[in-house]
Symmetry: C2
Subunit: 403 residues, 2 copies
């Protein structure tokens, strides 16, 4: 497997584009993205478990019920959620794409992100459709820009891999960066591949993958109303279609996982206001569920997040977060270390503090990527979760988001 350029346009047959159509006031920010596949593609998706669901998710679910799609439209600046006419607008967006691209509106994935509860005017999207279509090309970055909200960096990745002697490519784009605490679903992520795989196996791969990737990310504990990941697979790599478990499926899963882990880390590291990417590795758990519960509890703790912002080795807060995680652990067996590019330092052994150099700890914690390693010494299961620190900037961004 090799990391390649091109993002969601890396896979054969996919083009993408993005424009500013006028949903956002700031004209320098793109607010509309389109992804298009030359051939109809197998489609899979997972959605937020929030009971308050964005209208676009409802429409998308209907459209890909048959397992296929050919285009994705996504706007930023407005979530089209909690609006009386939300479904109508989401269907209107699909229809505009169908007409422009000469495909069925049932083959359009539609997504929106931004403020909740403000009616979305379809006029700028309608007026922008021609320009949006014209923007299609090898322009993954434009599409990635078009779906950004408070993100500070564009999120894309692609890899190549081989299935049955044929070179396949898979790539993805994502947007964070607040209201992120996925629960059997995730944030907005669009993945494209030219690998031939049946809709059923594509959905199986995605549903399985997110349990250890997007569902293990938290920026702020708030599960969004508009979370969604979709994968389109158009089969243009020419490999024999993957229709069952086996070596080819495993290879595809591995490629998909490379994309999703990369995007998870980018989303966590670019969480609203974040200065650091935090990773929590839990080892030696009795079960995977225990390992996951511990990892997520530590990643979600406001106190641990604030301590990391201050590069403060306050491991007592890590123990505290493990203790209230609800997971069945033996506190007296727990070891905790902090790791970064500057080294590793053990701060807690058997549930109690050890003497350690505060100076060395500070040096380690001043880095941009910090791993909290927790050894439960209670079994073989493990899990990893990702998040970010809690900063002044998070408060600033969210103290007045709408204006």
């Amino acid at each position: 497997m090799e990391i390649i350029k091109g993002g969601i346009c890396a896979a054969t047959g996919f083009t993408a584009g993005g424009i500013h159509c006028g949903i956002r006031k700031n004209k320098t920010k793109k607010d509309l993205a389109l992804i298009f596949s030359e051939k109809k593609a197998a489609a899979a998706a997972v959605y937020t478990t929030n009971l308050v669901k964005g209208a676009p998710l409802v429409v998308t679910k209907n459209h890909i019920a048959d397992g296929f799609a050919q285009a994705v439209i996504c706007n930023s600046g407005n979530a089209n959620t909690c609006n009386a006419n939300g479904i109508e607008i989401a269907e209107g967006m699909s229809k505009l794409v169908a007409e422009a691209m000469n495909i069925s509106e049932n083959d359009v994935v539609v997504a929106s992100t931004g403020v909740i509860g403000q009616p979305l005017d379809i006029t700028p999207i309608k007026n922008g459709m021609e320009a949006l279509k014209a923007s299609l090309g090898n322009n993954s970055e434009d599409a990635a820009e078009g779906i950004m909200t408070t993100d500070t960096v564009l999120k894309e990745i692609a890899v190549s891999f081989t299935v049955g002697g044929k070179e396949c490519k898979i790539g993805g784009i994502a947007k964070g960066s607040g209201m992120i605490h996925p629960n059997m679903a995730t944030m907005l992520v669009f993945i494209t591949t030219d690998c031939a795989i049946s809709p059923e196996m594509l959905q199986k791969a995605l549903s399985s993958d997110i349990k250890n990737t997007f569902n293990m990310v938290s920026v702020d504990g708030d599960t969004s109303t508009n979370d969604m990941v979709t994968v389109l697979a158009n089969g243009m790599a020419g490999n024999e279609e993957i229709t069952s478990d086996g070596e080819a499926f495993d290879t595809f899963m591995k490629a998909l996982n490379t994309i999703t882990v990369h995007l998870c880390r980018m989303i966590a590291g670019d969480g609203e206001g974040a200065t650091k990417l935090l990773e929590c590795q839990v080892n030696g758990a009795k079960t995977e569920d225990i390992a996951k519960a511990v990892a997520k509890s530590v990643i979600c703790s406001s106190l641990t997040k604030a301590a990391m912002f201050g590069a403060d080795a306050n491991w007592g807060r890590v123990l505290c977060a493990i203790g209230y995680s609800g997971a069945d652990v033996d506190v007296t067996k727990i070891d905790v270390s902090f790791i970064s590019d500057k080294g590793e330092i053990l701060v807690c052994k058997d549930g109690a503090g050890v003497d350690f150099s505060e100076e060395k700890a500070k040096e380690i914690l001043l880095e941009k990527e910090i791993t909290t390693k927790i050894e439960l010494n209670d079994g073989e299961a493990k899990a990893t979760a990702w998040g970010c620190d809690l900063t002044y900037e998070y408060v600033k961004i969210n103290g007045d988001y709408r204006t």
Copy 2:
């Protein structure tokens, strides 16, 4: 019932005091408190459900297993938690009080609050015992000061009430203000009363009360390792001892609830970095559990808390938090209003936005106490939760708490 002065010294037979003994570096801050009852008192307590439990809680639980206690010692500046010699130190503190006050060490409630995982040196406490004993008097405020950590205001309250023709008094002190997300337990609260009530009924009253009071408060989602509420009832009011359900018990419950609700609101309003007390009232739920889950989810949402800091009527975040609460609600029936001393404004009706004056909303949200009123229109059950806004100051306090 009448609000009276005196805090934990309002009830007959109780004295209290507080000193700086040297656990904290800052000599202007008291760090040791003592509460004493002339007569042995019925004792009840509830503790944190965090698996990581402070050593003082373990010792206290043993000491009041027989239902009685006569003194409370509490230090701030160090939680005496996750230390190899924690139990020994907590027992040592009890012994010092027992010797000084000439009571059994089994009648001492011991509590600690502050940083986790740093050994607590008993020397300053030992050296301070004489001064601590000498500080005993009608000094509820000194004790309240002695247990403060990052609290900015002292928290005390007392009321008088009548049971069987006898005037009784009940008072309490509390400390917040971070790591507060009680779960079948609470923060540090000490309550004293001269009402005569059996240990069993006292425990019943406390365990029942906290479900709707301390368990409905959240400052930051982190359930502390050292949470505890204790009530001492010394019977010196001379009423006939309450030993069963009935009118007298109901009167006592009402007085207790007045104390606990007041302290809840004080703890929430003085949450770390807080500029506002937030209350969430949920009405019209199918069950009380649903009402509670919704109220706590809204109070705990970082995004809602940050919006309130910015006085931003971003009701979409309220809907979002209801949606991921896990509670069974019909989103299309939900109404949301914001209320303060400046009035009430409806911002969401039947799960969708309504036209409202942003100017009026801003005026309402700029106040210091804000209520988010949620009408589920789905039944008769209701619940209230308390919390605070998320501010720059919270991040500052917790970015470098240990130094």
